[in-house]
Assembly symmetry: C2
Homo-oligomer: 899 residues x 2
């Protein structure tokens, strides 16, 4: 015979904390607490198996259920020394849902079951508190009518308003009529009168009587919970959270206890440590003569639990003073729970007539900073080991320490103006500007500016750098703005579609509001929310955080995966070193071309009529590039620096408006129509799949020659200065060995020449970016020549899925909504598809070159789930933007522990 009902109470329980699948999280914890000897109101859990049976069998219960439930009720009665439905000493029950994973607010609860015309007089006699009883009764009626009679049965009131709304209306009118300001003023008679009214209204509107039988009430409540599992809200939530419908919900039936029976009763919620700071102090709030919902509702101000957590000057009474003996018991329970669960707990308790009851314990939510502190403290306290500490802190929680934040206290009091995609974390406040030049100019005057654009392009980079934050109306999480901002750890919100931006008029409209240049906005880049005006910010200061430093030390000792950074400038390299990066995994060279001094040379190159002219133009860039590379190699001395040769298609360097075109024609003394003709020639239908990457270096070998020379001359000069530098030259967008060899030969030839010219020996590597499906398929061939592979998973995702990251916005929302994609594949690597190619390339690459160096430098290098995948397929390192380096270090450690 299947066991469908698990009893708990009186220090004994059928279940335990490991049975979350059968009992749900809440039920399993109630059982566990009971077994620990903690005073928990007795009760029982109907398993998730009942839920599944119910749905598999046309809303019928297993035949054993009734009997098992009756037994459990008997046990509950005997522990409470009350009788369910008993006229003299009635037991009241609550019914609550409880799934394997918490689904807050998604499913139903009914309290006070068992109040009937038969039991009410007895309970009044026993409590001597008719007001309490009728108040409890009207709560039961309201909840039951709403949850069981209306929602679960799918009945509609005639006018379409819900029954709860109608009942609340009656209450409001009654209060108006009697000039009551608050529920507290209502007397026992008032409540009694209202319960009669409520029942009439229910009869009229739902066509059924409110049940006056305790058993009917109980089974109605149980059925409503099971039905709510497939209610609209719950189904949508499961879809979003990827919770399978087959999990089902359990139902917890538990004896009611009341904190509102008088001044010897109370209720409270507490955390075993401070969830905001992580401090190891018992932290919570309580209210005398109140129910749990009163603490949360905010009608009365709750009081501090103990003296030590009271603010200076707070004269209110703590539970420690008011109920000293109970406080000692509670504090002991707190210690026991932490020892048992080895984690901070979020608990609820009720004191009924001087007796303490624990209603709930669960692992408490915490912010990033406190997560770190608790984890490290618990190691020092001997509660957990270092590995467990590393598993306790989510990599994403480090973000809070690494970026200034909008002050959360202030933020919760204001409504956002708009919401976009959280592309660059942290908070920022500044005056808006509409062009990159304005950004640079006004920032130069000492202003804090936010650059507002429809979207950004490489020519905006100087302005983006000058701004404190970037806000765009278009683009996704991997748009240009997002990539650049994330690289700099700059606050950025993209794809904020409700913004209407006129760069020409320098205005920003949102709904009926209009902002002009110089107006203040505040951005929360962690959530994507945009606010009007200036909100206060809290500074980031990870270095001063000792626990953070300790945790990161443990992470470094634990991880196998190396962590490098993506950095194009020496200052980024310095920053990344500070964050713990051990080298550069991707130094893009194209950004170096956009500087106004240099762009002219590249445009000359593009417009050259023959190879000789082209070569001359390209060589003008040599001194600039050499200086760039010297700077970055020096900043990352002693560590490897992977430099990618020019990647974007040439048309990116010669996107000009009419004025700029005429200006250029003038500067170069070329007919403007010839420039226009060349621009037209360079136009591509799908630039992502166009003439870029190594295809440029193959068609224009002089570009590769110049870049190789710049890197290798920089290396030679630094080597002669006694510095140890380690360049790794990366050839982009390779799809075949023939392409690779063509470019490699140029680099090796230049290297020999430079060593001879400068009379110095140095080491360097040549390798390739693996970012096309074909490169993965023929990785064994390429690895015969390449010394390293660095996976460019952004482009690999684009080509494997056939998704342009610039255009995915057209269908990504519907894909996520319909659960066709579990997550944006540019955020977290698609392990099932793109991941197969990465694994294939790793295996094939090693098959012909066992010592090949393998890394990844796409945006996924900073995503914890992706990092775990890269660890598992055996890469040597990940590379990510400087601000993601700590995140990656922790994620890498966790990946190793999980494996």
């Amino acid at each position: 015979m299947s066991k469908y009902v698990y009893f708990f109470g009186g220090g004994k329980a059928d279940g335990n904390t490991k049975m979350k699948n059968e009992l749900g999280g809440k039920g399993a914890n109630l059982a566990e607490m009971t077994s620990l000897g903690i005073p928990v109101p007795p009760g029982f859990t109907l398993t998730t198996g009942v839920c599944n049976y119910y749905y598999d069998n046309d809303h019928n219960y297993p035949k054993e259920l009734k009997k098992q439930t009756d037994e459990a009720i008997n046990n509950t009665e005997s522990i409470m020394n009350q009788g369910f439905g008993n006229a003299d000493n009635p037991l009241l029950l609550s019914v609550r849902s409880g799934a394997r994973q918490s689904m807050p607010g998604m499913m139903e609860t009914v309290l006070n079951l068992g109040l009937t015309s038969k039991t009410i007089p007895g309970l009044i006699a026993k409590t001597n508190n008719p007001r309490f009883v009728y108040d409890a009764y009207r709560r039961l009626i309201t909840m039951y009518a709403d949850v069981v009679m209306e929602k679960a049965e799918g009945v509609k009131t005639k006018d379409g308003h819900g029954i709860r709304h109608r009942l609340e209306n009656i209450l409001d009118k009654y209060k108006d009529k009697n000039d009551y300001k608050s529920d507290v003023e209502l007397t026992a008679d008032d409540w009694k009168h209202l319960t009669e009214k409520f029942k009439e209204e229910i009869k009229i509107n739902l066509g059924k009587e409110f049940p006056d039988d305790h058993m009917e009430q109980l089974w109605g409540g149980i059925g409503a919970v099971f039905k709510s599992w497939n209610g609209k809200r719950a189904v949508s939530y499961r879809k979003i959270e990827n919770i399978p419908g087959e999990w089902g919900t359990a139902v917890n039936v538990q004896a009611m206890v009341f904190g509102n029976l008088g001044d010897n009763s109370a209720t409270g919620v507490a955390f075993t440590r401070n969830p905001a700071t992580g401090e190891n102090k018992f932290y919570g709030e309580w209210l005398r003569n109140a129910q749990g919902e009163d603490v949360v509702a905010g009608l009365r101000t709750p009081l501090q639990l103990n003296e030590t957590t009271k603010a200076p000057g707070d004269a209110s009474e703590s539970l420690e003073i008011a109920f000293p003996k109970i406080y000692i018991d509670l504090d002991k329970i707190r210690i026991d729970l932490e020892k048992h669960y080895t984690d901070m707990q979020d608990i609820e308790f009720t004191i009924q007539d001087g007796r303490l009851w624990m209603l709930q314990t669960r692992t408490g939510k915490r912010n990033g900073q406190s997560a770190i502190k608790m984890a490290v403290d618990m190691v020092h306290e001997g509660l957990i080991d270092k590995n467990e500490a590393l598993m306790r802190v989510l990599p994403s929680q480090l973000d809070e320490l690494l970026h200034p934040m909008v002050d959360p206290e202030e933020e919760q009091n204001v409504s956002p103006l708009a919401k976009g995609l959280p592309a660059g974390p942290g908070g920022a406040t500044g005056q808006i500007v509409f062009t990159a030049d304005d950004a640079e100019e006004q920032a130069g005057q000492g202003k804090k500016v936010i650059l507002v654009r429809d979207e950004t392009s490489p020519e905006d980079v100087h302005g983006m750098h000058a701004a404190v934050a970037i806000l765009t109306s278009k683009g996704g999480m991997t748009s240009h703005a997002a990539l650049v901002a994330r690289g700099w750890g700059k606050c950025c919100i993209v794809g904020c579609e409700s913004l209407h931006i006129s760069a020409a008029n320098k205005t920003l409209e949102v709904g009926d509001k209009k902002y002009k240049e110089g107006d203040w906005l505040t951005l929360n880049g962690t959530t994507g929310k945009v606010y009007e005006g200036q909100l206060p910010l809290k500074d980031a200061n990870p270095d001063s955080n000792q626990e953070y430093a300790e945790l990161m030390e443990w992470a470094d000792a634990t991880r196998r995966l190396g962590v490098r950074t993506n950095a194009d400038r020496p200052e980024d390299a310095v920053l990344a070193r500070k964050f713990g990066a051990k080298g550069i995994g991707l130094c893009r060279t194209e950004h170096m071309f956009f500087d106004p001094e240099r762009i002219l040379a590249i445009r000359k190159m593009i417009l050259a009529k023959n190879e000789k002219e082209r070569r001359a133009a390209v060589m003008e860039l040599l001194p600039y590039q050499k200086a760039d590379f010297k700077g970055i190699l020096d900043a990352m001395h002693d560590l490897p620096v992977t430099i990618r040769l020019l990647d974007p298609p040439l048309h990116e360097f010669i996107t000009l408006d009419d004025d700029a075109l005429l200006e250029l024609a003038d500067e170069l003394n070329v007919a403007s129509k010839d420039i226009q003709k060349r621009i037209d020639e360079l136009h591509e239908f799908n630039p992502m799949l166009g003439h870029r990457g190594c295809r440029l270096g193959i068609a224009y070998p002089e570009i590769t020659e110049m870049q190789a020379r710049a890197i290798l001359e920089a290396t030679a000069e630094l080597t002669k200065e006694g510095k140890s530098v380690h360049p790794e030259i990366m050839i982009p967008l390779i799809g075949s060995l023939a392409e690779y060899k063509n470019q490699e030969a140029i680099v090796r030839t230049i290297a020999k020449k430079v060593m001879a010219e400068q009379n110095v020996e140095f080491k360097y590597l040549v390798g390739t970016m693996i970012e096309l499906p074909r490169a993965c398929l023929v990785a064994d061939e390429i690895a015969e020549s390449a010394e390293f592979f660095s996976f460019g998973t952004n482009d690999l995702t684009q080509t494997t899925y056939g998704f342009s990251r610039d255009d995915i916005g057209g269908f990504l929302p519907v894909y996520l909504e319909e659960n066709i994609l579990p997550v944006d594949p540019f955020q977290s690597i698609d392990q099932g598809g793109v991941g197969q190619l990465v694994e294939m390339a790793v295996k094939k690459g090693r098959s012909t070159n066992p010592n090949i160096k393998l890394g990844i430098c796409g945006e996924h290098g900073g995503d914890p789930d992706s990092i775990e995948f890269f660890h598992n397929v055996g890469l040597a390192y990940v590379s990510c933007s400087p601000f993601r380096v700590p995140v990656a270090r922790l994620a890498a450690a966790r990946a190793n522990l999980k494996k």
Copy 2:
């Protein structure tokens, strides 16, 4: 001891025809002919091993070589009864290269070796023909100076002109001075005088004496041939033809025989069958008292070999009449050679003093029509079997029968105006027009027009259809114009970059020539050549060709691979059936949207503000689409028809110029700025990777519903009419099972509804196009639900390589030139990369669905090499444009035979 020298002569030979790797093609055939008892001038072959030894050992020969060569010379001398270097009865030798694969004109030959001051008097005495001897001597001097003394030694004449040029100059001046018009007029003394002059000139210019020793001459010649293997010309040729340098060349040394010793001597070339018609008649030309080069040079008109091939009224003397006994011998040799080689041979012969010598036999080149005739005839003659016949005809040779051609006789007399890519085969002549509308209008007036555009778009399709040919200045072999034209078997040249087209002025400029509307051009779509004016065409008429029909029957009986067609219109389907297609592998539905009546509905749909409006607009298309599908299903009754749901991004349907936009705004009563806004929203950076394929159907399920309904209602109606139709609904651009299931569910639901509404049962399949790397990687998952896969190898190539087929023109030329790509991967499938994915998808697909139907509908379906690959990976069918169907049938048969 290694054998480096292979002797042949006197009916015996060391080598044979199978030893091409060691002896080269020429040497192996000379050995083989000798062994067959055919009179071949004796000689010997130095193996390719000598060549490799030579290059591996710093230009030294193996030590055994001298001795083996001397022995072979002795054998040659004894058969010829002459002595090499003998003063009284001198043997002369020739030296010729001969690689494993023919490399025409790439390497060197030296004739008449052995003429020295010592042997000349003897030869004069013996031949009694001093003019012949000095003429032979000056030929030796010229060739030797050029090939051995200058090129092989890398010596340069002082003024940089080659020595051959200088010697010819001397001859020309001498002729001028003596008023000689032709070489024939020169006397023995003239030649003798010139040989002295030549030798002086050589001494002065190359600083060395012309060698007067026969052995020095011989080894000089041999060395020059080996050196020429690594000469610039040969190396470039090998690069293009993918011939490995390690193959090396052999050297053939052979006794000289002369057809110019007098009237009892002659020379000729012949084919064992007529290479132009395929007729089984001995066909060739000869000249009395001449050398081989005289037949080719055209100074004298060669005569027909026999009476039967003489044109009516040709009064010249045939060899059959002039040398009746020798003709009988030659005809017997012809029969023997065909029997031995079982193929048509291209032979050279010389009659020296009444004695017949065979100089060469090799498999003869032939055109498509004659290839078919010979193959089929030879089967009937019992010379070869049917399988061999199928292997004898290249699939590409069928093209000649399937399209009208520019008359080759006429074509060879004119120079092309320009050259582009041969995108649609066959020839066409017509008057040029510059817009699709003009094309349609003027074609409607009965004119033959050629549509000339920079590039074409779907909106040009009506004009493309009306035109007899299409000519574009941009785009590659898989550009829109190329794809459409090939689909229709229409003559088309694309990417003809030297054209400057002004559609506005209706002019076409090429260099300094200018053409206007109505001017005539002729296009050879098989070669990509464009001619001014009207050239005559030859009609295609495969049906009247009995041998073709027979060969195709054999092909069908031999192949395992099915052949379907890509067809969007009923008339294409009818044509393809005629060509032997067994079903439609790809019916695109988007072309059906561009009709002016329909495009308004799709534009309404695009501009709809909500789902309801969108659905209403889409449903306007239902009757049109249903009629389309009825037509095509009916035309292909009894056979499967794969219909692909809408694939291109929506912006393709709403690309408008300003006027059209205003017109549309007017028609739909929408503000033009709203239309512009929507157009801007739809803009994509990489449309190839954008919101297209199933992504459209997922975002706008009403499109899928409408199309499914149109197909299935058409099916229902035809089924009720008693027709057997087999629709296969194909969902495009699938990358995951979730996408597939989303769209499949819509189709299945509609199918159930239609069956119920129309009260009829019918069968249909649902499957998907496999055209993304990810689809191949997760093919096992997709195959759990999909009933068929059809590989879309165009898109798969784009994403696997990361090559946009619209943009590949920017670097494809340099990739082919540098041999980074062996061939355009859009022409012939990249077996090493894209092919791996196809194979993977086949294996994975079958692993979960062993009965899954597998086909391919990309452009590669008509490419013979690709078809062989698809056969080998086990696909069930290929689908190609109607005009490629016979090609595919033959290629499929050959693939099966090869395997």
